[in-house]
């Protein structure tokens, strides 16, 4: 597969200097599809190339910057509202993924747009958290009874809650993988290692290694790769930032093994290095050696993921992209549910639920 224009621009923002308008057209379409246009705008600003861009491109990136500024403000605001709503809970609330990057000012927050705010609370406090959020205007949005049961019985989160006036959506988790998944990292250990956020009492993020592991699990245990490239770029930027912390690269594989997440971490390191050139120390990869898949499986995963991680744009597909995405979808669900349950769930989604907005 030939690398996409988008990948080239993410790897080396300065390389866009010579692009013609036809290439820019394609690059921005790939970026729009991968939800990375605002991210590109930030990278170009940082690389000092923004002033040298063709006028129509500059205008398009400015649209994205306006939306991004508003998004960042809105996330900070919502996080404060969530903090206020859950202050009485008596246990820290952990922000996950995009909201965590944003609240902690981490590298992946730059130019990252997302729709839902993910938080985690202990499972036995879920009812309290849910009613506190309800009192503050967030209401459950399960589509039907099946949806409700799907979340409550099998998932690691409750149905998304949407604010009645502001429309903001919160996903309340109690773990980072579903109840039905083959591995289930202990949430208590994640909470024990969580770190406080300055200026936001009662709100935490996962510890650096756990944040990387969660990002890896989220990407490589999921069936949908629509945001795959963006999520992998998050990992690249997280690793770049945390990699400078003393002892990070030694601790990361140890923690991964401890949490039974060595395999997804291995994939994260492999593809982040392959696609973005992340400088991963060999000792870290070696420490995960026992978790590596055999050569045949690795070759298959390469074939699937190197396609699945491309922007889901026609210009980035080859003859095998569709089948690769389908196989990744089945694999993602396979990892999250035992086969009989999975068959039942997919049957229900295909033939009974009319609206398949969130499976």
């Amino acid at each position: 597969m030939k690398p996409s224009l988008l990948l080239g621009a993410l790897r080396d923002p300065g390389s866009v200097r010579g692009l013609g308008l036809v290439q820019w057209d394609l690059l921005l379409r790939q970026a729009d599809r991968a939800k990375l246009t605002a991210c590109l705008a930030c990278l170009f600003d940082d690389a000092g190339v923004s002033s040298a861009l063709p006028a129509p491109v500059d205008a398009r990136l400015e649209w994205a910057r306006v939306a991004m500024r508003r998004h960042t403000d809105a996330v900070h605001f919502e996080v404060k509202r969530i903090q206020a709503a859950l202050a009485g809970l008596g246990v820290p609330v952990i922000l996950l993924k995009g909201a965590a990057y944003c609240a902690a000012g981490l590298a992946p927050a730059r130019g990252r747009l997302f729709s839902d705010i993910d938080i985690m609370v202990p499972k036995d406090r879920l009812p309290d958290a849910e009613s506190a959020l309800l009192v503050h205007g967030w209401v459950g949005s399960a589509q039907d009874e099946y949806d409700e049961r799907y979340y409550r019985q099998w998932m690691h989160e409750i149905p998304p809650m949407q604010h009645m006036r502001r429309q903001s959506v919160i996903d309340v988790h109690h773990a980072i993988l579903p109840e039905t998944a083959r591995v289930r990292p202990d949430p208590a250990r994640l909470r024990a290692a969580a770190v406080a956020l300055p200026g936001l009492p009662g709100v935490q993020t996962l510890a650096p290694a756990d944040m990387v592991l969660h990002s890896a699990v989220h990407l490589f245990y999921d069936g949908e790769f629509d945001n795959g490239l963006r999520d992998l770029f998050d990992l690249h930027r997280l690793l770049g930032q945390f990699g400078a912390l003393p002892g990070f690269w030694d601790h990361l594989p140890v923690r991964a093994v401890e949490m039974e997440l060595a395999r997804p971490l291995l994939y994260a390191l492999r593809y982040s290095a392959r696609l973005f050139g992340t400088p991963v120390p060999e000792t870290t990869v070696a420490a995960l050696g026992s978790a590596a898949p055999n050569r045949v499986l690795m070759a298959l995963m390469d074939a699937l993921l190197l396609r699945g991680l491309q922007p889901a744009h026609a210009s980035c597909n080859d003859s095998r992209s569709t089948i690769a995405r389908t196989m990744l979808y089945i694999r993602g669900n396979w990892l999250r549910m035992p086969p009989v349950l999975l068959a039942r769930h997919l049957f229900h989604k295909a033939f009974i639920t009319k609206n398949t907005s969130k499976a």
Partner: protein, 304 residues
């Protein structure tokens, strides 16, 4: 500069069926692909004076694909794709051109956040812009079409683009969308104007588009400063009335009609405030188009 009108119908069809027709409207370039004759004919008729851009770059990529195979004969439909994704349900093939217009609006209002985008018609005379925000059914488009047919320049029929830094209204002149009874009203009022064939039974009733005068298209790069915000209301038999509205109230009413007022945050708030400070706002009731036009003509001459 190449215009749509300089191309033959066959050439337009070939572009639509190939790499796309790169159509420039105001500050935007849209790449349009389609196999629909309704779309091609509509473009030929309504966009003849508009520039065709040949840089190969477009802000928006639209594909309107009409059913082929057996569906060609039985209730043919047109499917809409925004760069490969289908955000809307298909519609009857005869709605193709109306759908193109809505999709172009959808693309702009959802992404061009360098402007405060107000759901309003804007026309200009003697350098003074008149904004007509749009509660549906108010007769905004009819009034807009009438003014345009009597020498006012069209800046926008649906989407007023207000610059966040200079508060100037940028032209985005595209065909004026007319609904139901107003189609026959305008055909009688502007017999020389061109109209598309009506699309029947759309979600908004019967819809037809009126062609923008070439003079408005030619001034697509020339912004205008707002002089008046007028909330029109057509009422059969009513006497002409123009009632001033307090600025704070008018501000909120325009904000309610802005697609991205919240998204543009403090900058949108300030831009709207400064724009409103530069003009006056009115509630307006009318029943006769000639009276309405005489009133606005007079206002445009009296204002320095």
């Amino acid at each position: 500069m190449l215009t749509v009108g300089a191309l033959t119908r066959k050439e337009v069809g070939a572009r639509l069926g190939g790499a796309g027709l790169f159509l420039r409207t105001g500050p935007f370039v849209s790449c349009i692909r389609s196999n629909s004759a309704v779309v091609a004919d509509g473009l030929m008729q309504m966009y003849s004076a508009y520039p065709v851009d040949d840089t190969g770059y477009a802000d928006f990529h639209l594909h309107l694909r009409q059913s082929t195979g057996w569906r060609r004969w039985f209730r043919p439909q047109v499917h809409f794709y925004h760069d490969g994704e289908a955000p809307f349900e298909p519609m009857p093939a005869s709605h193709g051109f109306a759908m193109l217009e809505w999709m172009l609006n959808w693309c702009v209002s959802g992404s061009a956040h360098a402007y405060l985008i107000v759901h309003a018609a804007v026309v200009e005379k003697n350098g003074h812009a008149l904004m007509l925000p749009a509660p549906p059914g108010s007769g905004k488009s009819t009034l807009c079409a009438a003014l345009v047919s009597r020498g006012w320049r069209l800046l926008s029929d649906e989407l007023a683009l207000v610059g966040l830094d200079d508060q100037l209204v940028r032209p985005l002149a595209r065909p004026v969308s007319l609904k139901n009874a107003s189609i026959s009203v305008m055909k009688a009022y502007a017999p020389d104007a061109q109209f598309t064939r009506a699309a029947m039974d759309t979600t908004k009733g019967t819809v037809a588009h009126m062609k923008v005068p070439d003079a408005s298209v030619a001034r697509a790069a020339e912004p205008a400063r707002l002089a008046w915000v007028v909330f029109p209301r057509y009422q059969a038999g009513a006497a002409l009335s123009l009632t001033p509205i307090p600025q704070a109230r008018a501000f909120m009413r325009v904000a309610e009609n802005a697609f991205n007022y919240s998204l543009t945050g403090a900058r949108g708030f300030q831009a709207l405030g400064k724009m409103m400070d530069g003009g006056a706002s009115f509630d307006f009731t009318y029943s006769a188009l000639d009276e309405a036009i005489a009133l606005f003509d007079g206002m445009s001459e009296d204002r320095p």
